[in-house]
Symmetry: C2
Subunit: 344 residues, 2 copies
DNA sequence: CTGAAAGCGCTAACAA
DNA sequence: TTGTTAGCGCTTTCAG
């Protein structure tokens, strides 16, 4: 009895060639270099390809041509208690962007006992993908280090340290934060607090930098006490941190480092008997879908994920094709979404 | 000048064989059938493999052996406004489960103008993956139909219609709902409402069925008016639907079809001046991380995503290896997470 | 414009 | 236990 695998053999280029009465090469050309074929031949062969459901075997094609039409995406292991909410949204956009240019996304994650660099090396050495996409880039990110030293094509959502290939795309977080502060200043807020997370993460640093720039630009109070840090991702701890802030010399507005933190500000306000929008303005960052349940609706910044993914894929393909990384990163503007949480 | 691609050629089996003074086959055996080699040979070759950083070219290996070590995962296009929150969590678990047995996940999505069956067929015909994993299975799901008619290995998170291969794993939603109703009944609730979504989705149907079974089992009021349906995924519309319910002959408890809907119940209760936990009990389903911000904390059902993924991968591999689909699906219990939203 | 030859890197089957 | 032979299905190169 045949095994399952041997039964899987499908239509090959040979089958089509025989049926069409041409050589295998002509069938190959019909797919890869149609302009070389006489129109009639092309039409005949194409029809047969369609009819017989022929698709080039991806492995054979890759082996021969060296191109896999696969982009590897490394995901840091997600904390199930607080999943990186962007992972879902960005991945979504990435799959769509890559799909439009004929690439698919392969999820790569270190196996137990393996670090990021080793996992990446495995993919490179086995020639499994044509390039890498990475997100949530850190300073001295081991993935960036390995990929750039290995000279393998990659692109990153998030700034890459200077001295490395600048094949990154990011949101102009600084500008978005300045805009947010400006919005609050225009509504008369003079005492604005920043609610951040443990520093060191590049995207968090940008937000704080943008906040400070906004405060300076609009001539607001700059007391250091107005910058507080949530001790963790835990909702209860975030809320508690904000409550302490609200019990002191209370700010009239809280600029949160992300929607997740903004939700903590909402909870804290409620527990302190304050009404968001009236007694306390709150802003977030990311525009997570779930914030639609907040009342009043949250003012936040929406990331152009699809445009980011498009830009990243296009940059990556250019590197794959030409071997040359872009000279500079690309900053895309975030979109201010103004809602009732900052008052009427 | 060399092109980028040609530069990518790495260490081949030939290189290792020459360095070790053995044949290529021996190197291959060191990796694929080590027991066949004399210990010394094995050791020598293995050391060299390590030292030279040799990894079999995935394409060449696949072409020859017919196995790709890739599982394709089809994702229905996610509505960015209301992302399927489980997609992230399940995918996370799937990547981990597959990784442990040496498989990676390839994301497959129909290209513009292509339907699910065509996208799947493309992967099968191009021999890109060894099997498929699908989630959110519908009745007469086109993916199930195509895969089963094509005789290609697949497994599904969610029940598959009878008459098709029963290679599915699902949560025992009915039992979980009965437990939830029992919990409420034990606390004295007699008038319990079900807040559902447009019917027709199998998992929703299960929840309603479980709710009804619970109501019967515990001898509660069965007025049909106690089952309401949210008109859409939109938070505002969900909330409005619940408000209407609360303004009538008010139930003392709302069993929501999911955490998303439960959040709408929280909002509605607040707008109607009711306190969740005291005036109105609320339960959800899924245990989304974001519900940690709800106050009081939400009683819900946690899905054993990792166990589901493990079971699915193991079933899929069995099908890939033996060609035989399991005789029956597998139901895994959901975990009741009892919190304050149902009162003290 | 089309065909023939060669071989990508690997492993299954068989021979030694 | 190891080596030899053959060829997976395709595309590149070169010849017609």
């Amino acid at each position: 009895m045949e095994t399952r695998r041997s039964r899987e053999r499908g239509v090959t280029i040979e089958d089509v060639a025989r049926a069409a009465g041409v050589s295998r090469q002509t069938v190959s050309n019909a797919l890869n270099a149609p302009f070389r074929l006489k129109p009639e031949t092309l039409e005949k062969v194409t029809a047969l390809i369609e009819e017989m459901g022929y698709r080039p075997d991806q492995s054979a094609r890759s082996l021969r041509s060296g191109t896999r039409r696969i982009i590897a995406y490394t995901t840091t292991e997600d904390d199930p208690a607080n999943p990186n909410p962007l992972m879902g949204g960005f991945l979504e956009a990435l799959v769509a962007a890559a799909g439009e240019v004929g690439y698919r996304i392969l999820l790569v994650r270190p196996r137990p006992g393996q670090d990021q660099a080793q996992a990446i090396e495995e993919v490179i050495a086995a020639r499994t993908a044509d390039g890498f996409m990475i997100a949530d880039v850190l300073h001295d990110d081991p993935r960036v280090i390995h990929l750039s030293e290995r000279g393998f094509p990659f692109a990153a959502f998030g700034k890459i340290d200077p001295g490395r290939p600048q094949s990154w795309v990011d949101v102009d977080t600084v500008q978005a934060m300045i805009d947010l502060v400006g919005l609050l200043a225009a509504r008369g807020h003079r005492r604005i607090a920043f609610l951040g997370q443990a520093a060191g993460l590049p995207w968090m640093d940008d937000r704080l930098e943008g906040f400070r720039a906004g405060v300076r630009r609009f001539g607001l109070s700059t007391s250091a006490a107005l910058e507080i840090t949530a001790p963790s991702d835990d909702p209860a701890e975030i809320t508690e941190a904000v409550r302490r802030l609200l019990r002191g010399n209370r700010p009239s507005a809280v600029v949160a480092d992300g929607d997740w933190l903004a939700m903590g500000a909402y909870m804290a306000a409620r527990q302190e008997g304050l009404t968001v929008g009236a007694d306390l303005a709150v802003t977030g960052f990311n525009d997570l879908p779930v914030t639609a349940f907040l009342q009043p609706a949250l003012t936040t910044v929406r990331l152009p994920l699809r445009r980011i993914a498009d830009a990243l894929v296009s940059r990556l393909l250019q590197i794959i094709d030409t071997g040359a990384a872009p000279q500079a990163g690309l900053l895309l503007p975030g979109e201010l979404v103004i809602r009732d949480s900052i008052g009427g």
